[in-house]
Assembly symmetry: C2
Homo-oligomer: 797 residues x 2
C-alpha cells in the first residue's frame, strides 16, 4: 500500500521559472534547493534514484562549481509541479452555451467543413515542409559528399588521406555547429525528435513553447544541418513535431509570434479543438516521414488519443493522406517525373518484390529470435542513453558546451566512418545497375568499390536501402559486424545532443546491419539453401526488431513498416518481431521516449490506473483544503489568491458563499485562473454586491483572443478602489464540472479523468459540498514499481 | 428545437416479448397496436415514415389478412424500449473492492496473462472455424460444379440443356433450403452477416442470444449452405459474428448452453471484460476473412470501441494475428504445402504485382469519379434493399415462407446464371496457365471457354479474383455490363434473406465487374495507351468503390483492401475512392448496416451528441420521477417494484431513507435489477432493520455464476413472511455512481455516458438529491434530421 501523505499544494505550478527558484521541495527532501532550466536546455534533467543521493549530489556540486546555478537534477521518483495541464474538457459556461445555442445547424456544418479544410491544410503544409527538408538535405549532402569524394580520390593517388579526413570532419562539424547553435541558443525545445514532447502534449501536459512557430523554424533548420552534417540521425522523427506545430498554428487562424490574426477559425481557439488538430498534425508528420498514412493515424491513436472518435479519425486520416500526397507530388516534380507517385515518404524502403522474398513457416522462430535480440539491444541502447543523459545534465548544461559536444560528435562520426572505410578491404565489383550514388573506389581495383563506404559514406536513408536491397554478397560479415558496433555507439551518443534529429533511421540502420549479418551467417551455417539466400529479408526483420526494441511501439510501427516496404507479406513476421522486442525490452527498461518523459518528471497519465490501486480512494488522493470562490466575490480576494505564489492554483470551485468557518460550501461551478485573469484584465467589476450597475459584458471572443498566452497576474494592475469591487462569476464559471464522491476508488477516478481529458475533478461529500480537488499530478503520482504501488514525490521544479 | 415531452417510463424494457404485446405506444400514435418478433425473425422490422401512414397501414392490414397477428412494422421514428443495455461500467461495490484489494500484484499479472491467453485462443478458434468453413464450402461447391459441369457437357452435345438448368437449380435450392431451415426455425438471430448485431453489442445494446453457442453453430452451418447453394453472398461477414461468439464463449470459461463450467476465467464474467473480448473476436473474424489483421483491429475500433486502450488494442491485434495465422497454417496443410503461408484469409485478392499496375497522377480524378459512381450505386442498393425489407416484413414473416423465399432466390440465381451463360457468346481461348477451375466450353469452339461462365459458374471469391487478374481482353464489355446488372439485383434481393451470409463479396464482385468495364471502356476511348491497358486495376478500384458505397466504412476498409491485395501502392487511391463513395452515398441514405440498425429501432449511440443539442439539459432529457430504494429496504417493496411490468426499471438509485412525501433523497449508491435478483434468490434478508442477525454473506462469485442470464423476478418465490424482512443493500450497491447536475447540457451528458460506456447516469440537484436518471434511450432519442434536432418516439416494442 502506498504511503499517502497530506500535500500542501494542489495545483500545478505556473511555468514562470522565476517562481520556482528557491522554493523548498514540498515533500521530503525539504532542504534541497534547485533550479529549473528544462525549457532552456531541451534535454531532460535527470536525478539519481534516492533523495539521499540527491542531497549529497547537491553538496558536492555546491563545492565544486560555485559559479553556475545549483543544479539538482530531476529524480525519477519526483513529479514536477512545474507543468500545467491542458484543458481537454470544455468549460461550458453561460457564454459558451449561449453561443452554441445561437448557432444554427448550418453553422455546425460550416464548422465541420472548416475542420476538414484545416486538416487538409495541415497535411498540405506538413508535406511541403517534408519536401523542403528532403530537397535541401539531399542537395547539401550531395555537395558535401561530392567534395569529399573528389578530395579522397585525389589523395588516394598522391597519399595524404588525412587531409581528406580533416576536410570531412570539418565540413560535418560546420554543419552541425550551425544546427546546434540555433537549437541551443534560440529554441532549446526544438532539440531531439520532439516525439516525447508531442506525446506529453496529447496526453494533456502543457510543455511550454512546444507548438510555436519559432520552434518549427529552428526544428527545420536544425534537422537539415544535423542530417547534412552526417550525424547518426534521421529526419523522420522531427517531422512529427513539425506536423504538430503546423497543426497548432493553422488551426488557430493566427500567429501570436508574428502578431498576425486572420480572424478565422476563432472557434478552434481552445485546448480541446487544438488537441484534435495536433493529433492530425502528428499523424501527417508520420505519414510524410514514412509514406504511411494509416501508420500515421495509428501513431496518433497509440501515442496520444484516449477517446476514439470516428469523425476525428477520418479527419486525421485525411490530413495524413494529404501530407503524403503533397510530398509525393512535389518530389515527383522535383525529380522531373511529374505524376510518378513513387516517393510517398522521406524514407523509402524500396520495393520488396513479393516473389523474390517469401518467408516460410520455419523461419518464424528465427524471426522471433531476432525480435528478442532487438529487444535486448534496444534495452542496452536505452540504458546507455539514460546514463549518457545523466552525464550530460551534470556536466554539459551550458549552450556553448552543448554546441561543442555536438561538433565533437560530428567530427568523431566522420573520423570513425573514415577509419572504417580506410581499414576495410571489402571491395565489391561495381555492377552495371549500380545504385550507389557515391561509390568510393579508394584502394579497390578499378571497376570495384569499397562496400563499407556504402554504409558510411551515404545518408542513413540510402544506407538502409542498400542493406535491404543489395544482392547477396554485397557485404562481407566483418564489415557488417564492425559497422553495427560502431554505429550503435555513435547513434547512442548522438541521441540527446542539442540538435534536432530523430532516432528512427539510426535504429533501422543498426538493425538492418545486424539483421543482414544474421541472414548471411544463417545461410553460411545451413549450406545456403535458396530460401536463405536473401539477406535483405533478414535486414528488414532486424531493422524492425531494433526499432521496436528502442521505441517499443507495436501496432503503429507494424503498419508503418508495412507501408514503408510497400508489401504486406511481411506484416505477420514484423508484428511478431515487434511484440517480442517489446516484451523482452520491457523486462529490462522502458521505451526511449518513456524514459525521457519520466526523467523529465512530467505528470504523464498512463492508460489505466495501477492495477493494485483499488485500495486508494478519492479522499486519499485529492488535495485539500481547496480554495473556493464565492459566486459573487471581492476583487481583492481574487487578486490575492491568484498572486499567491506559494499555491498558484489554476482552478477554483465556486460556491454560493464561503461561510465564516471556512467550511466547505456546496459546489455550484468551477472557474479557471485563465478566465479570472481575463475578467480582471477587462475589469469586469461591480461596485458592490447586488449593485444595480451591470457588469461589463464580456464575450467568448475576449477569452479566445487571450488564448493561449494568458498574461500573468503580476502584469494586471488593480487599484485599491477596484479591490473593493465585486465580481460576479456566474456566467463565466463552468456550472457543471464533473464530480466524484469521496469514496470513489482511484481506478474509477482515473478512468473518468483520463477518458474525458479533465484538468480538475472536484471531490464532493454526500451533500455536494466541496471537500477536495483531484488534478493530474494527484493521479500521475501513483505508479507500479518493483515493490508494488509507489508514490512519487512532488517537487516544485 | 426539439419538442421534449414528459415520459412515462424511464428504464429500458425487459426482453420478454410477452410484455410488449398489446401495450400502447407511449408517445403519439397511441391507438396503434403492434407485435414484436424481431428476435424470432432475424430480419429487421420496418415501418413507414409517418405515424399517419402507419395507422392507415394498420387498418389496411387488419382488413386484408385477419388470420395472422396484427403487424405494425417498426417505424424509423421510433425507439424501441425492448432493448436492454449492457453495463460497461463496473459496479464498484464493497464486494468488488474487497476482491480487488485482496488481489496481489502477481494476481493482476496473472489476470493480464490470462487475457492474452484468451485472446490467443479466440484467434486460434476463429481461424479454425474459418478454415473449416473454407474447406467444407470448397468441397461442396466443387462437387456441385463438377456434377453440373459434367451434366452440361453431356447435354450440350445431345441437346436438352434445360435438364442441366433444372439440375443446377435443384442442387442450389437444396443447399439453400437446409441453410435457411436451420436459420429460420432454430436460431433466427443467425441470419444475415451479423455485423449490425455486433455493432450494437459493442455499442452497449444487449441483443438477445447474439453471442450464444447455438447461434454460432447455426451461423456456420448456414453460411456453408448458402455459399455452396450459389447465392450471391459471401462467407466473410459471418466470420465477424462467429469470432464474436467464440470470444464471448471462451472468455467466460463455461458454456451455459452446454451446462459446462470450467471454473476458469471467472473474473471475466461481466459486461466490461466480455465486451473487450468480443471486440477481439470481431477483429479476429475480420482478420480471418480477409487476411487483414490490422484491418481487423481498425474494424473493431471504427465500429465498436469508444475508449481507446493501448493494452486492449494490442491484445486485439494479437487475436487477429493468431486468427489469420491459424487459418493460413491449416489451409497450407490442407493444400499439402505445409509452411507455405499464402492464404491469410478466406478471400484472397491474388497478388497485384507492383510493377505491372502502377497508377498515375492523372488517373486520380478518374478514381474519384469511380468513387462517386460507387456511392451512387451503393445508395441505390441500400434504398432497394430497404424497400425489399419492408416488403419482407409485411408479407414474408413466417419461417416457412422465409425458407421458400430463400429457395426461390437460389433457383432464380441459378436460372439467371444459366441464361447468362447460355445466351452469351463471349468465347475466350483456353490459355495454358488457365486458372479457371471449372471452364465451361458450352457452345464455344474446342480450346475455348465461355467467359461469362467464369463469372457465374464459380464461387464469388474466384470470380472476384478473375476480374482482378485475368489479362486484358478476357471479358467483353457486354458480358460485364449484363453481369453487373443481373448480379446487382440478385445481390440486393439476397441480402436480408433468412440465411447466414455476408454482403462484402457480392459488393466487391459487382464493383469489380463495373470497374473492369470502366477500365475497358476507358482504354477504348483513349486509343489504348499502355497505362490504361490493365483493366484489373479498375476492377480493384471499382470493387472498393462499390463496397464503400454500400457499407460506408473508410479507414478500416482501406486497410482491409490494402491487406487483402497485399500491396500498399493502391492505398491512396483506395482511400480517396472510399471517402468519395461515403460522401456521395451519405448524401442520399445511410450505410446498409446503419439502415438496418435504425429500422430495428435500436437505441444506438452515435459518436457525439447532435451538434445543435446544447439547448437541452439533463433536466429535460432525464426520466423522472425515479424509483429509489432505501439503503435498508423492505423485501416486499423490492419485489413489488421489480415485478411491476409497467415500469420494469433496471437500475435504482439508493438513498439513506425515502421520506414520506416521496421527496428525493440524497444519493448514496446505485443498485441494478440483476443484483437485486441475485440477492432475492439467495434470500439475503434480515428479520428487521437494525437486527443483530447478520445477513447471509454473499460473494462476488454468486453474482458471477448468475451472469449473464439472471432469472426473471417471476421465477423467484418470496413468501409473505419474507416480504416483511429487510434487505441491507450497502455492500452490494455501487456507492459511487457517476452523476451530473441538472443543468448539464446534453452534449456533456452524452460525452460522459458514451466515453465511459454507462448504463445509468444519475441526475442530482445542488444538494446531491436524486432528481432523475439518464439511460441510453434518453440520449439515443435525439438525432439530427432534415429539419434540425428531432426526437424519436419511444415504443414499448
Amino acid at each position: 500500500m502506498a504511503n499517502v501523505s497530506k500535500k500542501v499544494s494542489w495545483s500545478s505550478r505556473d511555468e514562470d521559472p522565476a517562481q520556482g527558484e528557491g522554493t523548498p521541495l514540498l515533500n521530503g527532501a525539504s532542504a534541497a534547493r534547485y533550479t529549473r532550466q528544462f525549457s532552456g536546455s531541451g534535454i531532460f534533467h535527470i536525478g539519481r534514484l534516492s533523495t539521499v543521493d540527491l542531497e549529497e549530489e547537491n553538496v558536492e556540486e555546491e563545492g565544486s562549481i560555485l559559479s553556475r546555478p545549483k543544479e539538482i537534477p530531476h529524480n525519477e521518483k519526483l513529479l514536477s509541479l512545474k507543468y500545467e495541464s491542458l484543458d481537454y474538457d470544455n468549460s461550458e459556461n453561460q457564454l459558451f452555451l449561449e453561443e452554441e445555442r445561437r448557432m444554427s445547424y448550418m453553422g455546425f456544418r460550416c464548422l465541420e467543413i472548416s475542420r476538414w479544410v484545416v486538416c487538409g491544410l495541415i497535411g498540405f503544409l506538413t508535406g511541403l515542409i517534408a519536401c523542403f527538408i528532403d530537397i535541401v538535405v539531399e542537395n547539401l549532402a550531395g555537395v558535401k559528399y561530392h567534395v569529399v569524394k573528389q578530395n579522397i580520390e585525389k589523395f588516394t593517388e598522391v597519399g595524404g588521406l588525412s587531409i581528406s579526413l580533416i576536410l570531412w570532419a570539418v565540413l560535418n562539424s560546420a554543419f552541425v555547429m550551425v544546427g546546434s547553435i540555433i537549437v541551443a541558443f534560440f529554441e532549446p525545445i526544438a532539440a531531439g525528435s520532439g516525439i516525447p514532447q508531442i506525446k506529453c502534449y496529447l496526453n494533456g501536459v502543457k510543455i511550454p513553447r512546444v507548438v510555436r512557430l519559432k520552434t518549427l523554424v529552428v526544428k527545420v533548420g536544425g534537422v537539415i544541418c544535423s542530417v547534412a552534417g552526417g550525424l547518426a540521425v534521421g529526419k523522420e522523427g522531427p517531422m512529427i513535431h513539425s506536423g504538430a506545430v503546423v497543426a497548432a498554428g493553422v488551426s488557430q487562424g493566427r500567429s501570436t509570434s508574428l502578431k498576425k490574426d486572420f480572424k478565422i477559425f476563432e472557434y478552434f481557439r481552445r485546448d480541446t479543438e487544438k488537441r484534435d488538430f495536433v493529433s492530425a498534425g502528428a499523424a501527417a508528420g508520420v505519414s510524410a516521414a514514412f509514406g504511411a498514412p494509416v501508420g500515421g493515424v495509428l501513431f496518433s491513436l497509440e501515442e496520444g488519443a484516449s477517446f476514439w472518435n470516428q469523425m476525428l479519425t477520418w479527419r486525421i486520416f485525411f490530413a495524413s493522406m494529404m501530407s503524403t500526397f503533397t510530398l509525393n507530388f512535389f518530389l515527383s516534380i522535383y525529380h522531373e517525373k511529374p505524376g510518378d507517385l513513387s516517393s510517398p515518404g522521406l524514407i523509402n524502403f524500396g520495393r520488396f518484390d513479393s516473389d523474390s522474398v517469401e518467408y516460410n513457416l520455419y523461419e518464424i522462430p528465427l524471426f522471433i529470435c531476432m525480435g528478442a535480440i532487438g529487444g535486448l539491444l534496444g534495452a542496452l541502447f536505452n540504458v546507455l542513453n539514460y546514463w549518457l543523459t545523466i552525464f550530460r545534465i551534470r556536466y554539459i548544461h551550458r549552450p556553448c558546451l552543448q554546441v561543442m559536444e555536438a561538433m565533437l560528435v560530428a567530427a568523431v562520426t566522420a573520423t570513425v566512418s573514415f577509419a572504417m572505410i580506410y581499414f576495410s578491404n571489402d571491395c565489391q565489383p561495381l555492377g552495371p545497375d549500380q545504385s550507389e550514388e557515391y561509390p568510393l573506389q579508394l584502394f579497390c581495383a578499378d571497376g570495384e568499390y569499397n562496400s563499407m563506404a556504402t554504409a558510411f559514406f551515404n545518408t542513413p536513408e540510402r544506407s538502409v536501402r542498400s542493406l535491404f536491397h543489395n544482392p547477396p554478397g554485397t557485404y562481407n560479415p566483418l564489415t557488417l559486424g564492425v559497422f553495427t558496433l560502431s554505429y550503435f555507439f555513435l547513434a547512442c551518443w548522438t541521441y540527446g545532443l542539442t540538435v534536432s534529429a530523430g532516432v528512427f533511421i539510426p535504429s533501422l540502420l543498426i538493425g538492418a546491419a545486424w539483421g543482414r549479418l544474421f541472414g548471411i551467417l544463417l545461410s553460411a551455417i545451413t549450406s545456403s539453401g535458396s530460401i536463405w539466400a536473401d539477406p535483405g529479408k533478414y535486414a528488414l526483420i532486424g531493422a524492425a526488431a531494433q526499432l521496436g526494441g528502442i521505441v517499443r511501439m507495436t501496432l503503429s510501427l507494424t503498419v508503418i513498416m508495412v507501408e514503408a516496404t510497400g508489401n504486406v507479406t511481411y506484416g505477420l513476421p514484423i508484428m511478431l518481431v515487434l511484440m517480442t522486442a517489446k516484451i523482452v525490452g520491457d523486462y529490462f527498461v522502458g521505451g526511449l521516449y518513456d524514459i525521457h518523459i519520466k526523467l523529465q518528471s512530467v505528470p504523464f497519465l498512463d492508460w489505466e490506473a495501477p492495477a493494485t490501486s483499488h485500495s486508494l480512494t478519492a479522499r486519499e488522493v485529492m488535495s485539500s483544503p481547496v480554495t473556493c470562490f464565492n459566486r459573487i466575490e471581492k476583487v481583492g480576494r481574487i487578486v490575492d489568491i491568484l498572486s499567491n505564489t506559494s499555491t498558484n492554483h489554476n482552478g477554483f470551485p465556486v460556491v454560493p458563499r464561503v461561510n465564516e468557518n471556512n467550511e466547505p460550501g456546496r459546489l455550484c461551478g468551477l472557474i479557471l485562473r485563465s478566465q479570472l485573469i481575463v475578467l480582471l484584465k477587462h475589469k469586469v467589476f461591480v461596485e458592490r454586491a447586488h449593485s444595480r450597475l451591470k457588469q461589463r459584458r464580456l464575450q467568448l471572443k475576449d477569452f479566445r483572443d487571450a488564448y493561449p498566452r494568458f498574461p500573468p497576474i503580476q502584469s494586471i494592475h488593480v487599484s485599491q478602489d477596484e479591490r473593493e469591487c465585486m465580481m460576479d462569476l456566474t456566467e463565466f464559471m463552468n456550472p457543471t464540472p464533473y464530480t466524484v464522491p469521496q469514496e470513489t476508488s482511484l481506478p474509477r477516478v482515473f478512468k473518468l479523468f483520463r477518458a474525458l481529458g479533465l484538468r480538475h475533478l472536484v471531490v464532493i461529500d454526500s451533500e455536494n459540498r466541496v471537500v477536495g480537488l483531484v488534478t493530474r499530478k494527484d493521479l500521475a503520482r501513483y505508479h507500479l514499481g518493483r515493490h508494488g504501488l509507489e508514490e512519487l514525490q512532488l517537487a516544485q521544479t
